[in-house]
Assembly symmetry: C2
Homo-oligomer: 347 residues x 2
Amino acid sequence: MGAEVIKIERPGVGDLCRNLVINDQKIGDNSLLFHTFNRNKKSVALNLKSESDLEKVKKLISSADVMIHNFRPGVMERIGLDYSVVSQLNPRIIYGSVSGYGDKGPWRDKPGQDLLVQSLSGLALLSGNAEHNPTPVGLPVLDIAASGNLVQGILAAIIRRGITGKGGLVEVDLMSCAFDIQFEQLTAYVNDNKEPSRSKIANANIYGAAPYGIYKTADGYLALAMMPIALLAELLECEALNQFTQDDAFQQRDEIKDIVADAVKQRTTTAWLEVLEARDVWCADVLDWSRLLEEEGFKALEPLQTVEVTGGEPIKTTRCPIRFDGEYITSSKPAPLLGAHTNQIIL
Amino acid sequence: MGAEVIKIERPGVGDLCRNLVINDQKIGDNSLLFHTFNRNKKSVALNLKSESDLEKVKKLISSADVMIHNFRPGVMERIGLDYSVVSQLNPRIIYGSVSGYGDKGPWRDKPGQDLLVQSLSGLALLSGNAEHNPTPVGLPVLDIAASGNLVQGILAAIIRRGITGKGGLVEVDLMSCAFDIQFEQLTAYVNDNKEPSRSKIANANIYGAAPYGIYKTADGYLALAMMPIALLAELLECEALNQFTQDDAFQQRDEIKDIVADAVKQRTTTAWLEVLEARDVWCADVLDWSRLLEEEGFKALEPLQTVEVTGGEPIKTTRCPIRFDGEYITSSKPAPLLGAHTNQIIL
């Protein structure tokens, strides 16, 4: 969104993510993952354990609008860059911090890693069917939620600074973000204290009424969202569903979903979409990426951008999902080589 | 974060979410879900189809900082409240809009519903094991991502207004947010075009190396994040793992995970945590909510707040995950009754 983002990295080694290779993909010396995370940033190589480098970091901080870190609680205090020190150097700075579990209580020093927090927070028991092992979300949803919340907090603190002239401390933790994305389900739970369970089939929301879920068709899959049971009975031509009233849709969701599954597998996805979409029923095909990327609807969103990579072929990646004044924000600037901007930024 | 939030609702009926009951939970006339979504907001009842009410809405807009809507593309134009009209009424306003699929292309008029966009975006093929049906995230992760991105965009536009004096249009759509939360995986895919597959067991990330995932123990479950195979072999006392090198951890993840699963089920979760945590291995128990809520680590985060409900018992719900200057933001103000603030706000 227009910020100049400067990474401070260890000389020689750099951000550990430079060597975190997934899917065996590297671009030059660095992982594709590093490029994905760090496009359009700058890199300054400084050693926080060296007195003279630490002074250079402090000088940089004294003119920065925002700084962020994700060390475990206590580390920035040991380095001498905790908020009480930094706010003396620069009373206007917004100081952002991400931890796994906050700075109090027995979880404080646990490793703050996405899958582990999904597992401890109940989140792993929301996806998948009742008979499946706990099923984590297959992407680092809490890292993403925490980053997004940190940005919200930082931007709000910048607005506040516009009024008060003073900076502030903004903290998020993965565990609170896990509670936050479960706010709908957790609120239901803490107000009745009955442990919910996942549907036997087509689970998509532990508190969702039938038919909410994804079903196998004759040649693929079909997603069905909220809809009246009577309409579903009519469109699936499924007499057996008429034994249920709308009031049964939550309490007897498994029985209803079994019947829906039997009906849906009789025809192809295309055949069902034709019948259901004609009546404005909330339904969809289930696409893999090879099919998705061929869709005109995908192309119309212009979701990909090209990034020029220093010493390598250009790569494609996703763009920012926010559109300002009708324009998507893109940039072809790559992730930086380690220390590429040290001389430019540190005088 | 301190905003005064005013809902404009249809007289008599109000927000449809007032009647969207999940888990059979109601508070007075409204669903618990409505209370969960709308705490600390105000309600004004006005009919957008009435000329005189529309004038009142325009008057409200003319003094607002921000307005948001999530109608399908074209609806605000028909009402006469699209950005081109509103920005004339109030050039300083930030106008936020959420759609399912943006305002161009063949998906434009499809229903913008979370499960359907999960299904179309490839997201449903990231969670669950290879043999399972496509497995959506068991909560409305795209509604949440879109809301968060909208807030980011709005706050950034407010900061820009502080400099330029001018408002702006901020748009997000569920589909772009689905690409965005998959940015790591989609970037891997579009740079090699090999359709990935979920692990046969313990899937937690399609591009994750073994042992990344959740495993059954003798009495529960155990989450294992990234760790060296050799260390895992030593701590699980599992000779069979020594046939694999670290380079095999991604390509032969299913073979490795099978062996890990056999080893992990021999002991209890507590026994494994003792062995693994002593060596700083990234692992965790898998908790359901009844166990979670008993944990001291949970209580230390003070994750719940009480909301006073008009005409009903107080309810408990989650708090904002962002902490400012060491303080959590909470409020005991309830969701409004329909039109409760009409007379106060509309003069």
